[in-house]
Point group: C2
Chain length 257, copies 2
């Protein structure tokens, strides 16, 4: 009775959203940090309105990019409808970062000393259904005789702990770098953005959980994309970045697949 | 596609069993370590037949006691149908003991360096459904206007790391000791067994996870019972211990409820 029902109530709706379900390319776009929304029962976690709308709550612009890529690449899109402050779906339940007590400069009072029942409820309500949905899509695609591809979409803040970041687009990978290599090779040939490998984060920061969960065990082509969020603050920016990434991904997939 | 389906296949059946579902007392008996059975897909985890049938795989006798108590106390019983070697349902996913690499003197090769996908699959297949079922029963009982009570049943080995244990029955509790206190008080008045508080384990060993998950947040009366497994090697032993415990619990519940 201390269950997921305590986290999500009827008015919150489902934890996971699936879009462009009829996409036929085999690409599964994943957006773990699509939303800054908190479930009604969560209150404000003791955070200010500024913090609740900041990059600690979500990846601003990531869902907009993922939606354009979903259309451009004809791939399905799975995104989490609630903030990573409640559960960061790019972290396993055993990670302290799954329900962080601190994020960058912000303490998160509502995540301090979480009781086992609360950790369980969040895991059951947000993490398990999210990755079940990703997994189900990958299964379905493979079952239909196509090659599933995992592409996760993130954004990062231009200033972190007070330090500006020069990189504009990060192409991240874990132990399987095939798709990332092909994208980086094309990006190195020239283009409008500063593109770097495993930047501003890399697998050593624990950010490749979704890739490790879904792609690596099955040898699926995969990549994690990080876009600096000041580039996608308006539709024109989203459109430009998405068009660039769509070309990069589709070109790379032709060489890798 | 790396999902729970990879852990449990159709021939394995469900992870969780519910017995005496019409029990009306409000008591929910929980047996996390009821079974030594491994899912077919798990193989032998690299363990010998001896290890696979030993106390590291299950709590021998615990399910037999729990079934008698379920009948005697008219309570429902929830038990896990698979070995704790695959997932120890009395541990949260963030605990290294949930999928242990070592248990007492045994290394468990099949649990070494588990990939995130495997940890996820086990958590989703075994832990979440188990505690969902316990939670659903507690909810149902409360919804029917009765007071739910959580009683978890375990057994322990008479010799651990080569050292004999004198205690015969342990009455364990976490921060809410009401039911345990009442049982210990009655036990201290005399009886056939050596009964001790928080022995041979206690909350500091992380063994009260189920109590902390389900009972403490709601203030439900609760207790964890540990029986030395040499006492329940035959039906007569099970019968004697179960009859003793049924009296102890029902008497204590009258004073606590």
């Amino acid at each position: 009775m201390l269950l997921r029902s305590g986290i999500l109530t009827a008015s919150d709706g489902e934890a996971v959203a699936l879009e462009n379900a009829t996409g036929t390319s085999g690409v599964v776009l994943v957006c773990e940090h699509a939303s800054a929304v908190l479930p009604a029962a969560a209150g404000d976690l003791g955070l200010s309105a500024d913090a609740l709308s900041s990059h600690i709550a979500w990846d601003p612009g990531a869902l907009a990019i993922a939606r354009r890529l979903s259309t451009a690449l004809d791939g399905v899109l799975v995104h989490q409808r609630f903030s990573r402050l409640i559960y960061d779906c790019n972290r396993p339940p055993e990670s302290p970062a799954a329900m962080p007590e601190k994020s960058e400069i912000y303490e998160i009072p509502g995540n301090r000393d979480l009781a086992p029942a609360e950790r369980y409820a969040r895991t059951a309500a947000l993490y398990i259904p999210f990755h079940d949905r990703v997994s189900a899509e990958l299964s379905r695609i493979a079952g239909e005789g196509r090659k599933p591809v995992v592409v996760t979409i993130h954004t990062f803040t231009p200033v972190y702990f007070g330090k500006p970041r020069e990189v504009e687009i990060g192409i991240l990978h874990d132990t399987d770098s095939r798709l990332a290599d092909a994208m980086l090779e094309a990006a190195a040939a020239g283009g409008p953005y500063r593109v770097e490998r495993n930047s501003p984060y890399g697998p050593e920061d624990g950010v490749t959980h979704t890739l490790r969960l879904h792609a690596l065990p099955l040898g699926l082509a995969n990549v994690m994309i990080e876009v600096r969020n000041d580039l996608v603050r308006d539709d024109a920016g989203v459109e430009a970045v998405s068009a660039y990434l769509a070309d990069l991904i589709s070109g790379a997939l032709e060489r890798v697949a």
